[in-house]
Structure formats: C-alpha cells, structure tokens
C-alpha cells in the first residue's frame, strides 16, 4: 500500500491538471484511500504523471533482431547496461536488447508499449522477446495488409471470409490489433515492385488495389470491434509529394476508425529530393476536422539510428540513396522487412524537413487526444530520446534556436518558424500517456482514476522539461516501486495484452489446405499457443464503433 502525497498531479482523463492531491495505491491499482500503515511517498516539489504509453514502437521481433545483427559498430558506441543483482546485462543504443528495453522504458517513466509490426509466422519469436522484456506491459499488432491469403480473398470479393481469417489471425498471433504496412506494396516487392498509388493494381493481382485492402481491413477491425482500430502505415512513405496519397487514404477511411502511424513520414510536399518541403498544414487541416482518425507523430531527431520497416521496397530505395548497409528479409506469404542504418543530419535538406514535419504535426493538430508522441522507434530516433521532443514542444525559444542550424532553403520549406504554440504539462501527459492509452483502447492505462493500473511516474518539477522527463524520481509499475534515485530497484515481469475476436472456428478447415500448399511448416505449428505468451491477458473486443 502506498500514498503519494504533496505532488502536483496531471491526470488529463479525469480532468486533473496540476492539482496537488494524494494518489493512493493498493493491490497494484489506484484506490480511493489507504489506511495509515501505507508507505508515504513525499512528492512535494514534484509532478505526478500516469506511466507513459507508447502506441507505436519496435522493441521485439525477427526484424529488430535482424537489425541488431547488422549493426555491431553501433552497439560498441552505445550505452552498456551493467549486470547488477536487479538487472541483467545488455546494451541500450538504437536497438536495445530485450532486458535493456524494459529497464530504459521504465527508467523514463514509460510502462506500456505496443510493438507495432509482427508477422504471424514469427509471432512466437516476438512473444519470446517480449517475455524477456521486463517491467513494462506489452501488446502487438499483426501484419495483414500483404498477407496473400487475405489478398487472394479480396481479389475474389470474399470479404466475409477475409474477416473470419483476419479474426483467426489476430488470435493465432496472440496480437492486440491489425497492422497494415504499405498495403499491396510489400506484396509487390516480392516481385521487386512497389505500389505507390492507392489505385494501382497490386503486382501479381488483377484487381486488388491498396485502396481495396485498406478499406477492407479498416472495416474488419471495426466489425470485429477490436479495441484498437486499423494501425496503418500508408503507401508511398518518405517520398516527396506523398501527402496527396495520405490525404486520399484519410478520405477513403471516412466512416471508419483508423490510426495513422508515424504520420510525419507521410506529410511531404515538393516534387523531388531537392524541392521537398513540409505538407504538415494540409494534413493537419484535414485531420483536425475528422475525429474518426488518430495518429502518432513518428518524429525525427538528428543523429545515428537504424531504420527497420516491413516496407521492403522503400528500404531498397533508401539503400540505393545512401549507399549504406542493407538487410532485407521477405516473409513467406505475409510480409517483408528491410533494415538500413541511417544518420539524420542537420545539413541535409530532407532530414531538416523531416525533423520539422514531426514537430509541426504535433503543434498543428489541435486536439492532443488524437496525436501520440512517438519516433517510430528506432526509425526516426530511439525511444529514449523522447524527452528531447518534449522540450522542443514545450519551449518555442529552444525551437527557434534549433532552427538556426538549417539552411535558408530548408527553413523556407517548413512552417515551424511560424508556430508559437507551446505544450503545457497537462498536454504532455495527454500525448505521452492518456491519448495513446485511449487510442489502444486500454481502459486501465493512461490515467490515475480509481481502478486504474498503478503505473505512475514522478518527476522533479524543474524548469528544463528535458531534464525533468529524462530522470524520474520514482517510477511505480503495478504499484511496485521500480525506479528510485535514477536506479532500477526492482525488476518485475509485465503482462502481454491480446484480443480474441469472434470468428467462426470452421475457418481453420478453409485455411488448413491452403496453408499446406503455400507454407513450409505444418498448420498445427503455425498459431502461437497460449502457454507461449507469458503473462497473457486477453481483452474483450467491445469497442463502440459507430456503423
């Protein structure tokens, strides 16, 4: 039992904005009161936040592990995590090891993370990595927009059966939601091609287009009442002028719920790499007027990182552009994956625009409840750099200072110099915790109301937000003290959330023969069994979806 007293509490979901009040914890949950025997945490001069929730990150899985093997030179420069009685050894850096991931997230006051891209065939591997990621709670989204069984069904207008297959796949992967990456484009990449426009026919098909796939999967996520809507990585990522594709996609999704992943990468104007500019304004204007959409920023920070995505064709292009190492891993019948180490440089026009667009979107989107703070870790920057973004959002003078590093041409392509908005602490609590929890449909996360999971981060109330959010004074996970004085004091195991949509079990009879024909393992070995998922917590599919 625990009483946190004297701290300024920020709990946006319950309308608490910087009010000094007690937070009581018992049995891993927030409760109304505790008796006098409870441990008292004196939080005077500190602020109390609900634990951070990351809506889009890549912290475990075959693709990330492939990347780890590709960049030993980055690990050598990275921060080591020492073995202690509480902690296992590891390495932070751009692709933190499993144990390090848990420690570093918790060490920043973040307690839940959504691994955003899992191929079903290697979902078992992802769950094994997530099991070895301590402290934080995890969930994951299963890749579906290039799954050939689904695409074949859509080609034959068999939507209903595709829905059953999708429901089966979500549960078979022990996933929480549906992810779509470059719908159709990755399937095309299997033939060395791509799908840039929404109405291009997917290579290898006669009629299916990205638009068909996106609409179908959005409908499926809604009809199955998944707590998290379709998690969409749009077509034409990273290309100058791609904002038109993004706008078309958002228009297509009218009437559906949808989460637009790393929107920054999809909001560029211009005609080529030399004329690239920000198109955050048209994207944000459309977004602001369409409450069916949520997004995460996918912000970029300067420095070394490694890009990892299921978007194979884009990664091949990036490899040709940069001449850096390239890893590609195509996954049978389901998806692909590309890995390219990358350095974002201030002097590079494209990188400068990318940096600005991420911030512009967060500043131009008026409703903080619909935008989440992410860097698409590790693509835009590593998750442990979030406090830098918080400072950029909260301090316009600091932003102005940063803008001086760019060329006039780069500045002319941004709207950032004209934006004076500064985030308040309450708004930071929304974009780092309350909004992502709501977007994911995790009712027990992202707030400090009675009955919520007692995931709490307590920060020193200092002037510099970067310093404040880099080193929490205390972090509690499920009511247990994890971090104190900048040290991990206790390493517990987190839960893994999954959903079990309603589907017709007879769909297995349809899948089995197809599977034997197209895959290279037996059907019985394909789904992840419940025993394989450590700390499995199955959530109901009862999202309220306006039809």
């Amino acid at each position: 039992m625990l009483r946190i007293t004297g701290g300024k509490v920020y709990d946006p979901k319950n309308g608490v904005d910087g009010v000094v009040q007690d937070v009581c914890v018992a049995g891993g949950k927030v409760v109304a009161s505790v008796d006098a025997s409870a441990r008292v945490i004196d939080a005077r001069g500190m602020i109390v936040f609900p634990g951070g929730v990351d809506v889009h990150t890549h912290i475990g899985g075959a693709a990330l592990n492939f990347a780890r093997g590709l960049i030993p030179e980055q690990h050598r420069k990275a921060r080591p995590i020492f073995h202690t009685p509480q902690c296992r050894a590891g390495i932070a850096g751009s692709t933190p090891t499993t144990f390090a991931t848990g420690y570093v997230y918790a060490g920043m006051g973040w307690t839940t993370a959504n691994e955003a891209a899992v191929p079903l065939i290697s979902a078992k591997h992802t769950h094994e990595e997530l099991r070895d990621t301590p402290i934080i709670d995890k969930c994951c989204c299963v890749l579906m927009a290039n799954n050939e069984i689904i695409l074949d069904l859509l080609e034959n207008d068999e939507f209903e059966r595709a829905k059953q297959v999708a429901g089966w796949q979500v549960w078979a992967a022990k996933a929480y939601g549906i992810k779509a990456v470059n719908p159709g484009g990755v399937a095309g990449w299997k033939w060395g091609k791509d799908c840039k426009g929404l109405n291009d026919v997917v290579p290898g098909y006669k009629k299916v287009t990205p638009a068909t796939i996106i609409k179908a999967l959005a409908d499926i996520a809604d009809q199955l009442s998944l707590p998290h809507p379709i998690h969409l990585h749009c077509n034409n990522l990273g290309a100058p002028g791609n904002y038109t594709t993004t706008l078309e996609t958002m228009k297509l999704l009218e009437g559906n719920r949808a989460h637009m992943a790393h929107l920054q990468y999809h909001a560029y104007g211009g005609d080529d790499w030399y004329t690239m500019k920000s198109a955050a304004v048209p994207i944000a204007e459309y977004f602001n007027t369409h409450p069916n959409l949520t997004c995460d920023a996918g912000a970029v920070l300067f420095g070394d990182t490694v890009t990892i995505t299921a978007d194979g064709p884009w990664q091949h292009l990036l490899h040709e552009l940069t001449g850096r190492k390239w890893g590609n891993l195509d996954v049978e019948n389901e998806t692909g994956c590309g890995v390219v180490p990358y350095t974002y440089k201030e002097k590079n026009l494209v990188n400068a625009i990318q940096w600005a667009v991420g911030l512009e979107l967060m500043l131009l989107i008026t409703d903080p409840w619909r935008v989440c703070l992410t860097t698409d870790h590790p693509n835009g920057a590593c998750f442990w750099r979030y406090p830098e973004i918080v400072r950029l959002l909260m301090d316009k003078e600091f932003r102005k200072e940063q803008l001086k590093a760019f060329s006039d041409k780069a500045r002319a392509g941004m709207v950032l110099p004209d934006l004076d908005r500064e985030y308040t602490l309450g708004e930071i609590a929304i974009i780092t915790s309350a909004a992502p929890a709501r977007t994911l449909g995790l009712a027990q996360k992202g707030h400090l109301g009675i009955g919520a999971d007692a995931d709490i981060a307590i920060f020193n109330d200092v002037k510099d937000p970067m310093e404040m959010f880099s080193y929490p004074r205390f972090v509690f996970k499920s009511g247990q003290l994890i971090v104190e004085e900048g040290e991990i004091r206790n390493s517990i195991e987190g839960s893994q959330f999954a959903t079990r949509p309603d589907y017709d079990p007879a769909i297995e009879d349809y899948l089995r023969p197809l599977f034997q024909q197209h895959y290279t393992m037996s059907f019985e070995n394909y789904p992840v069994t419940e025993e394989c998922v450590h700390g499995l917590e199955v959530h109901a599919c009862n999202a309220c979806v306006s039809k």
Partner: protein, 314 residues
C-alpha cells in the same frame, strides 16, 4: 537480403547452391523447400526452376543441378568478384576468368540467367564461408545478391546446420546484441570474434572453466583447444556420451530436445518451430539443469562491488 524458405518454394525460378552439398548434408532441402515442390507461382515445380551448383568437386548434388560449375579451389572470391563486375556490365578479361577454372562465356551465361530470373536465390554453404577468404567470401556473396536487386528480385541465405545453432544465434542477439563471440567479464556484453570466440579463448587458455551445452567441441576443435578443456574443469550437458563428455570433469545427462523435452527450434531462415516431445524422459531437460545451476550461483555473493545509490558511470 534474405527471405523465409516458403518464399523460395513459392517463387524461386532460379536457384544457386554454392559451396554446399545439400543432397547429402541437407537431404530434405530440395524436396521440402527448393527444387521439387510445386510453388504458388511455379505450378510445374521442378520444371519451372533452374538449379546451378557451384563447387570445387562434382558431389551428389551435381546430379540434381541443371548446370554444374566447377570452381578452382580457393577461387570463390575471385569468381564472385567477376560476377559482380559482369552484373554491372564491366569488361572482364578472359585470363581473369580462367583463374577461376571457368570460361568467361560460362560466367557471362550465369550472369545473364541471374538477371533474367524472376526470383533468384543463392544458398551458400561452408565450402564458401569456411574456405580461403572466409567471411570475405560470404560478404561477396551477399553483396552480389544485393546488387542483383537493381535488376530483379534476388536473395541469399547461408546453409546453416548443426541442430539449433540458429536459435542460439537469435537468443544471443536479443539478449546481448551480438550473435556469438561475446564477453560479459566487464558486466556488459562486448563482441570481438577472434578474441572472445570459443576456439580462441580455449587455445589461449584464457578461461578457467567451461560449460558445454548441446555441442561436441571435443570432436571438432583443434588439439590445443581440446587440451585446455581436459586441463581445466569442463561441465557437459548432453543426452549422449560424446568426445567432450569423455574428457569432462562433470557430465550431466539431459533429455533430448524435440524427443523428450519441449522448446523452440529455429530453422535456418530464423522461423521458430515449437518442439512437441512425443516421449517422456527420466532425465531433466537442459533448461531445468541450467535453472538449478543459475539459482545456486545466485546464492553466492557478487564478486563485484554493488552500489546502491547513484547511477553507474561507464
């Protein structure tokens, strides 16, 4: 650039095996994944595929090949480099080609076929990765496959074997960032093949005890390494009596993974497969033994200074 084996089954119309003898060393490879299977986009199976074997001698696998190219021993790197040049349309002299034991026409023909393939795959074995040039050969093979992607779809994959070696590689990577050759002596992972890899440690005599899990170094490693294993305490966990268990101080008999112990094995393409044991064993699994060892070790006080306040500084 690689892929899972199902991609090869469904799409690969052009297959190269280089420095490997799958007919004898990976006997199910042809029939389950690569050659004879009917694929989704290759309905006629073997008839829709072309197979090339590059090796220094005509092995059993050559019978299965449409084209056999006999490279001169130790000239793999030269041959790969010439292929890369030809892929880019550069001029190569006939003498340079002759170095490899093949003619320029043969090499040009191979390049034309690689470029004309819809989906090509290059499997390379220890005949490439463990002979003269070693990792430089593997790098050249991977770069050749990467560069071919400017013209068509092309992937490469090492032919790994020896049980679940891929699984060990995968787990090491996600716990320590590196696949092998890791030292934890400073309390965090460091990677330096040649310094921390097993043979080098043993030959130099750096370690004063060895724990052997699911391997038989006593049968395969150089003599000085084996001598060090004999000289110092060696503990072996193995279901069977092996060369290593004979020279070990302690041999703990364990159950066989996949037959009497559950777990996960990784295929050479890093696809995880659950192991469902059909039999029960009186012996504990490797996992059970290791957990007991770890628990016993944890009871001992740490040998390093443990600070309770302040962040550790590197």
């Amino acid at each position: 650039m690689t892929c899972t084996l199902g991609e090869v089954k469904n799409r690969a119309d052009f297959i190269i095996y280089w420095g490997g003898n799958p007919a004898e060393c990976h006997p199910r490879h042809f029939t389950r994944y690569t050659l004879t299977q009917k694929g989704k986009f290759l309905p006629r199976g073997r008839k829709d595929r072309t197979m090339v074997l590059v090796d220094i001698r005509e092995t059993m696998s050559a019978k299965a090949a449409d084209i056999f190219l006999q490279v001169r021993p130790g000239k793999d790197f030269e041959m790969l480099t010439i292929l890369r040049a030809l892929v880019k349309g550069q001029t190569v002299s006939a003498e340079a080609a002759a170095e490899t034991g093949l003619t320029l026409e043969q090499l040009q023909d191979l390049v034309n076929r690689m470029k004309a393939a819809k989906f090509g795959v290059l499997f390379f074995g220890m005949g490439l990765s463990m002979t003269r040039g070693k990792h430089m050969n593997s790098a050249a093979a991977l770069i050749l496959a990467a560069e071919l992607n400017a013209y068509t779809k092309f992937v490469a994959m090492p032919m790994r074997g020896h049980g679940n070696v891929t699984g060990a590689d995968v787990v090491m990577r996600y716990t320590f960032s590196y696949p092998f050759g890791i030292s934890l002596t400073r309390g965090y992972p460091r990677f330096n093949p040649g310094e921390y890899s097993t043979i080098d440690l043993l030959v130099r005599g750096d370690n004063d005890a060895t724990l052997v899990l699911g391997a038989d170094p006593g049968a395969t490693m150089p003599k000085p390494a084996i001598e060090h294993l004999t000289r110092t305490p060696t503990i072996v966990l193995d279901p069977k009596v092996t060369h290593t268990s004979r020279l070990a101080r302690v041999h703990i008999t364990t159950s066989v993974a996949g037959i009497s112990a559950p777990g996960t094995a990784y295929r050479m393409d890093e696809v995880p497969m659950p192991l469902r044991p059909p039999l029960k064993s009186p012996y504990p699994s490797d996992e059970e033994v290791m957990k007991k060892i770890v628990a016993a070790v944890q009871k001992k006080p740490a040998w390093y200074p443990v600070t309770r306040t302040g962040a550790q500084v590197t």
